[in-house]
């Protein structure tokens, strides 16, 4: 991430227990494509400046079966999904969730689990998580539970490609300050020199297995024994039938060699185009504002000049001059639209661009591999 982690931050890295990862994946894939949200519990280690996340539970609103309103509504309704999306995204801030969270934490404490709310998680598809609701949620958490709280973003779409995609983010200090003031005019943004890159800070993530788990993993069958002469399979069926591949979950599987980049790129490009479109909308809004502002200012200027000349005349005629600041009452300058949305769109575009970069990187690597396999005589 572009934003560098400040040296004095209370938390500099996040440590996840494998349990949380598994729960997260389960919850997210279950209710995909609706984004899943839930609460993270764990504790802070000030000594190592690490945030240890040891457990998680989903928010009820994000689970459609739990809410009466959702069950009654027709699932075929075209607005159904949009409703659910909004509902799911608003869940962490909702009053019901807060009380639910408190209750849950109480119960967890009773069973002797780390019972400190340290953040929340959200699932997304192809990195489309940067929006106003996301920021609002995180602001809410960072205000309520302190600066250390962070958000885990699990990308279902990308994870399905083969590698786990999990990121931890936090809002930057400068953004929090700007948000406190509550307005994002160009002036205030200029003053705080806030850029779209500065909104989010990514934290390094570490997955920690308990000793019990590690010992269990060690009991699992080992990596296939390496033989000197590799008998290459002649058909795909042969690969599938290979006992050492089929039975062993830890052997490298063929999914990693998947070369079909097109669907992912298409999806990302679609989203990118959408973002650019909304950026254009924002830009048009801003331009409209600029124009109307200029118009109003010109009006005010002519009025002021008129009033000034009138006053000169009145002074000459020994009359009391008229007040010169009446224009504030007569003219109403248009209010500037918030620039927050534009900034978020900028951040989102950056996110997509990074993603494409990532895809291209891995696929290019695979491509080279394929080439090496196909043309053994040259290359590599």
């Amino acid at each position: 991430m572009a934003a560098v982690l400040p040296a004095d931050a209370p938390v500099r890295q996040v440590q996840l227990s494998a349990l949380v990862v598994m729960r997260l994946i389960k919850h997210s894939t279950q209710i995909f494509p609706t984004p899943a949200t839930g609460c993270l519990v764990g504790m802070e280690q000030p000594k190592t400046a690490t945030l240890e996340i040891t457990n998680s539970f989903p928010f009820p609103a994000s689970n459609p079966d739990n809410t009466a309103s959702v069950t009654t509504s027709n699932p075929m309704d075209p607005y159904h999904q949009a409703d659910q999306l909004a509902l799911a995204l608003a869940a962490p801030r909702a009053k019901g969730s807060v009380s639910y969270q408190n209750e849950m934490i109480k119960y967890l404490r009773e069973v002797n689990v780390d019972a400190q709310g340290v953040g929340w998680y959200v699932s997304c598809s192809m990195g489309n998580f940067v929006n106003a609701a996301f920021v609002e949620n995180q602001v809410f958490y960072q205000r309520a539970t302190g600066e250390q709280s962070c958000v885990l973003v699990f990308d279902v779409g990308r994870s399905s490609q083969g590698s786990l995609n999990l990121k931890a983010y936090r809002l930057s200090k400068s953004f929090m300050e700007a948000h406190k003031e509550g307005k994002f005019t160009s002036e205030s943004i200029q003053k705080s020199s806030l850029r779209y890159q500065d909104i989010l800070i990514e934290l390094p993530l570490k997955i920690h297995n308990s000793h019990l788990l590690t010992s269990y993993l060690h009991q699992l069958p080992n990596i296939p024994t390496t033989t000197d002469s590799l008998t290459l399979p002649t058909t795909i069926a042969e690969i599938h039938r290979n006992p050492s591949l089929a039975s062993n979950p830890l052997t490298p599987n063929l999914d990693n060699l998947d070369l079909s980049i097109d669907p992912f790129l298409e999806k990302t490009l679609d989203q990118l185009l959408e973002s650019i479109e909304s950026h254009q909308t924002e830009q048009n809004n801003a331009q409209y504002y600029q124009r109307s502002l200029a118009r109003e200012q010109a009006k005010v200027k002519t009025w002021k000049e008129k009033r000034a000349s009138e006053n000169v005349l009145r002074v000459q005629q020994k009359q009391t001059p008229l007040p010169e600041d009446e224009w504030t009452k007569l003219f109403k300058l248009p209010t500037e639209p918030s620039r927050l949305e534009a900034m978020l769109v900028g951040r989102q575009v950056e996110q997509y661009a990074r993603q494409i970069d990532g895809f291209a990187g891995t696929v290019t690597g695979k491509m080279f591999g394929v080439r090496g396999g196909l043309v053994p005589g040259e290359g590599l």
Binding site: D262, L269, D270, L273, I276, E277, Q280, Q287
Partner: protein, 868 residues
């Protein structure tokens, strides 16, 4: 006054006195300049209203007099009557009595009461005039009134029906008043009651007796002057003055009229009458010309207002006047009417002297007259409904106007060649006339022009001929327009030149010379400058462009036609652009002033380009171009955005949205349904739809055009078919295609080859087997098209960002680039300096050193060094 009461047989005891009185006045003022205002001022009354009254009365009195059949008084018939104050009072009384009678008829008691009071107020002054006697008509009316009131009162008593309280009150008051008032006129009333006829009659006798005397006396007076010259003529002018029109006084009269011109309350019709008489009287050509000049101008003045048009009668008279003027001028070459360089002699008495070179110059402008005549006809035609017989009737005046134009042209031409004039005549007037002539020709087909020309040359005297358009070449119409236009190219400039050019192009396009007209249109470069011309020229430009488009269509050039018509027809404002009717736009706010101007600009109907035909041609062309393009675009969003004709697309979309489409009713429906059929590959159906449009009959050679359209539809149908169904074919026999579209194999091969060459079709032509082999998988994948879109979007984004930056920095130049700019400049300076130093170090201390110094220091110091 007396005249007025003749028919009424009412009384005016002292009309003789009155006549004498006015007669006195007239003799007094006989020598002085007379005008109506003068006499009305004498009466100390409001001059405006009085003169208006008189105008009306003149008409009425004249009418009554004819009925009286009094031959002696004939001479006075048309004279403006000026009345004395007494006469007016009588008029007022008369008016009041008439009101009373009206009120009696409808039993409006309230009005009766009021008018009765008013009548009584008017009475005393009249009685004074009549030596204390009440006027007879007064007696008559009060007698009638009394009877009616009594009757009404009796009736009121008997019938239970209640009257309106106000009316009741008025009636009672009136009854009281009448009873009191009538006592005074007891004797008169009794006399009237006894025998109304007798009572009124004695008055008539009394009155008519002196009437015939007076005019006789006057005639006798005039006879003395009449004796002096035979042609002399007597008129009784304003204020009863004698107006004597003699050849000597013509100029004086003209001067009087000239002075009255433009003033308020000038009766122009009266002036025209006077001048018509003057024209009869005039003996010399000089006088005739002078009178004619004035007369024509006054006729045009009749309708100087914006709303009114010249009546046919007046227009014809003006036209004849101009013809007469031209007759005289053609006959007498020693007299000329010129725009500049001549002045009317101050002294009317002396005969005008010809100038040194033997030419008598009279100020005036023949071109202006003809132009005005033309304008007036246009205005009339604008206001008449074009579908009436009246329009045709007025349009029949055009040949005479045209012959006037030609003669005026001949005249100005002669004038230009005439070297005897004191001041050479400007080229401009002849240009103006030629332009007018051209404007009467350019929109007409050759056959019509031929008839017009022949008729015109017949009306022009044999002796006259034109250098610009010789009589002998009059039959070749193309040549005529060409000659006129070329003359204007050579001699005129600015707007007239542009107009001449447009007229010629229009004429060429009308006569199917597409390439010539297109080349001229392009060479003129008018499309760059047309915005700076006046609106009428812009309209002409639009008309010309439209005509060129139609010409292209007649030649079967669909693409050219569509491009030419695009601007006019695609705008939805055809009517406004071609000045063929007002288009009320819903959301536009035009002031009445603008609307009036707009109305003035409208072309007369016979010059219109048929808008329906235009629309039909445009839509058909758009269809022939759009349908294959749409088929080619398929579902690709980017290609779909390439729109040829927006209005056509809109219509097509609208048509597609309709749930039920009935059989086509109008042109648009026909074209739309044809489009649908064509898009589906059913070219036969499309062709049927298009060819069943009736409006094609309006075009010359409609059969040829229909054949052309059929051919085009076949070809475009083939293209559309290939675009639409190519993905479903692997190979396709050319013969099969030829059969489907009833085209020759060669034609099909040509079309397919063209499409392959333009990369519109991914295929190859197998000439051995006579088949088209389609290639597969050459379309862009979704990812590719998305990537293309993205690159477009991104570049758009960059552009808009740069625009914003530009906007922000325009005031403070390179405010944003300050850092980079400075760095860059510093670098450049350093490099320059280095080179400079290198130069001075390397080369000898000559120019190289100096150059280096300049480069190094630059600016002021550099120039200082150079100065050394």
């Amino acid at each position: 006054m007396s005249r007025f009461f003749h028919g009424d047989s009412s009384s005016d005891s002292s009309s003789d006195e009155e006549e004498l009185y006015s007669g006195d006045e007239a003799t007094k003022a006989a020598e002085a300049e007379s005008s109506e205002e003068d006499s009305s001022e004498n009466e100390g009354d409001d001059s405006d209203s009085s003169s208006d009254d008189e105008g009306g009365k003149t008409g009425a009195s004249r009418f009554l007099r004819e009925a009286s059949d009094d031959s002696d008084e004939e001479d006075e018939d048309k004279v403006t009557v000026v009345k004395s104050a007494k006469d007016k009072r009588f008029d007022e009384l008369e008016g009041t009595i008439r009101l009373l009678e009206n009120a009696q008829k409808i039993s409006d008691w309230n009005a009766l009461n009021e008018n009765y009071d008013r009548m009584n107020r008017q009475l005393p002054t009249l009685q004074r005039d009549l030596d204390g006697k009440a006027p007879k008509m007064y007696i008559k009316s009060i007698a009638q009134l009394e009877t009616q009131v009594m009757e009404a009162f009796e009736k009121q008593k008997v019938t239970p029906k209640k009257m309106n309280p106000i009316a009741q009150k008025s009636m009672n008051a009136l009854r009281q008043k009448i009873r009191k008032n009538n006592k005074e006129y007891m004797t008169d009333l009794e006399a009237y009651r006894k025998d109304p006829e007798e009572f009124m009659k004695e008055d008539v006798v009394e009155e008519t007796a002196p009437a015939p005397k007076k005019p006789k006396k006057k005639l006798l007076d005039n006879d003395t002057t009449l004796d002096a010259n035979d042609e002399g003529f007597t008129m009784v002018g304003a204020g009863g003055k004698a107006m004597i029109y003699t050849p000597e006084s013509i100029l004086k009269h003209l001067r009087t009229i000239l002075e009255a011109r433009g003033r308020k309350n000038t009766d122009r019709l009266e002036q025209i009458k006077i001048m018509e008489r003057l024209l009869d009287v005039a003996v010399t050509d000089y006088q005739r010309i002078r009178v004619l000049l004035m007369l024509i101008a006054t006729r045009f003045d009749l309708t100087s207002g914006t709303g009114s048009q010249m009546s046919q009668e007046q227009w014809k008279l003006a036209q004849q006047g101009i013809a007469q003027l031209l007759d005289i001028l053609e006959e007498h070459e020693e007299i000329v009417v010129v725009d500049s360089g001549a002045e009317n002699p101050e002294d009317d008495e002396k005969a005008p002297e010809p100038s040194i070179k033997g030419v008598l110059e009279i100020p005036g402008s023949v071109p202006s007259f003809v132009e005005r005549l033309d304008d007036e006809l246009t205005r009339v035609l604008q206001s008449i409904d074009p579908h009436t017989a009246e329009y045709v009737e007025r349009l029949q005046d055009e040949p005479s106007l045209y012959s006037n134009l030609v003669r005026a042209m001949l005249y100005t031409e002669r004038l230009k060649a005439n070297d005897k004039l004191t001041v050479p005549q400007p080229q401009e007037s002849i240009n103006r006339v030629i332009m007018r002539r051209l404007e009467h020709l350019y929109f007409k087909p050759a056959s019509v022009v031929t008839v017009l020309e022949e008729g015109t040359w017949k009306s022009v005297p044999e002796t006259l001929d034109s250098k610009i358009t010789p009589r002998s070449e009059g039959t070749d119409i193309n040549n005529l327009v060409q000659t006129l236009a070329v003359y204007l190219f050579k001699n005129a400039e600015g707007i007239i030149r542009a107009r001449a050019m447009l007229c010629q192009i229009y004429f060429l396009a009308l006569h199917d010379q597409y390439y010539k007209s297109r080349d001229m249109m392009l060479m003129s470069h008018l499309q760059d400058t047309i915005a700076s011309f006046d609106v009428n020229t812009q309209i002409l430009f639009n008309r010309t462009l439209t005509q060129v488009g139609l010409c292209a269509f007649r030649q079967g050039l669909v693409y050219e036609c569509q491009t030419a018509l695009q601007d006019i027809c695609g705008s939805q404002r055809q009517k406004e652009l071609l000045a063929q009717g007002l288009q009320i736009q819903r959301y536009s706010q035009i002031t009445p002033e603008q609307e009036r101007l707009e109305r003035q600009r409208q072309l007369p109907f016979h010059m219109h380009i048929n808008l329906e035909l235009l629309e039909c041609v445009y839509l058909t062309c758009s269809m022939l171009l759009e349908i294959p393009t749409l088929a080619q675009a398929g579902s690709s969003p980017e290609l779909r955005k390439r729109v040829i004709s927006k209005s056509y697309r809109r219509m097509l979309e609208y048509h597609e949205r309709q749930i039920f489409t009935g059989p086509p009713e109008n042109t648009r429906d026909h074209v739309m349904q044809a489009s649908k059929a064509l898009a589906a590959g059913e070219w036969k159906k499309a062709s049927d739809f298009i060819l069943s449009i009736k409006i094609w009959e309006l075009l010359p050679d409609s059969e040829g055009i229909k054949a052309m359209l059929g051919q085009q539809i076949q070809e475009e149908g083939l293209r559309t078919y290939l675009f639409t169904y190519a993905p479903f074919y692997d190979t396709l026999q050319v013969t099969k295609l030829a059969e489907m579209f009833e085209l020759g194999q060669q034609k099909v091969t040509a079309l397919v080859s063209k499409m392959i060459h333009h990369e519109e079709l991914a295929a190859a032509l197998d000439q051995v087997n006579g088949a088209i082999i389609f290639r597969k998988g050459v379309e862009l994948s979704r990812l590719q098209s998305l990537a293309l879109t993205l690159s477009d979007k991104a570049s758009g984004l960059i552009e808009s960002n740069e625009r914003v930056l530009e906007q922000r920095t325009q005031g403070t130049a390179n405010a944003f680039e300050r850092q980079g700019g400075r760095g860059g400049r510093g670098g450049r300076g350093g490099r320059g300096g280095g080179r400079g130093r290198g130069g001075s170090g390397f080369a000898s201390r000559g120019g190289g050193g100096q150059g280096g110094g300049q480069q190094f220091t630059g600016g002021a110091l550099g120039s200082a060094i150079r100065a050394q």
